[in-house]
Symmetry: C2
């Protein structure tokens, strides 16, 4: 098996990562690897992420607060310690029922989140 001893590991602290305000109810921080992206999302109560879909596989992990997902007409409530696996291309929306801290994991990384073509999240 190949060993890549020269490759760099990188340590991050969420507290040190610049925060991007997408709209008054939603801020985001990103850690981007080769195959995987982590995002720390802070959603204020009432924040709505409109229905959308993407090829990237998604895992959402609620650290605190309450997040309601809608998938195929089904409501799924996530509270602290709950995890939702969303396969590739499944349409989903989300509403923060409380102030919420959520970690979203994507594979591959979300190119639209890196290049800012994520208009569905952005305030006018």
């Amino acid at each position: 098996m190949k060993q890549a001893q020269g490759k760099d590991v990188t340590k991050y602290r969420w507290a040190d990562i610049p925060e991007e305000e997408l709209n008054p109810l939603l801020t985001r921080k990103l850690i981007t690897g080769d195959r995987v992206m982590l995002s720390e999302l802070v959603l204020k109560k009432g924040c709505v992420v409109p229905a959308h879909h993407h090829e990237n596989e998604q895992v959402s992990y609620v650290i605190r607060g309450t997040l309601k997902f809608e998938v195929n007409g089904r409501e799924i409530i996530l509270r602290a310690g709950d995890v939702l696996h969303i396969p590739s291309n499944v349409v989903h929306s989300a509403t923060a029922l409380e102030d919420t801290l959520d970690i979203d994991i994507f594979s591959p990384p979300r190119q639209d989140w890196l290049d800012g073509t994520d208009q569905y999240l952005r305030g006018k």
Copy 2:
């Protein structure tokens, strides 16, 4: 873009996932997707994960406690809120300096963790 409305999303609660005891100092829970795997690792103080490497990209996210990684002779201390990105095939080891709760994310999922061929983690 293809929409896979029929595909199932799955909700998990860490508290409901069976815990696997790998050795007296290390237990593990798994959530496995198509391209990504999440693992909740509980490491008691003094737990040592010996040096190893794998093709899977790894991101380690310490929720509480303190974890010391060694990579290429370099010591990296992770505390609550710290994240380490370990590229594919980089040799690494880890020691729990305190009782630690860590989320490890892999892409692709760790086949050796699914089929139990992870002897480097298991007590004799």
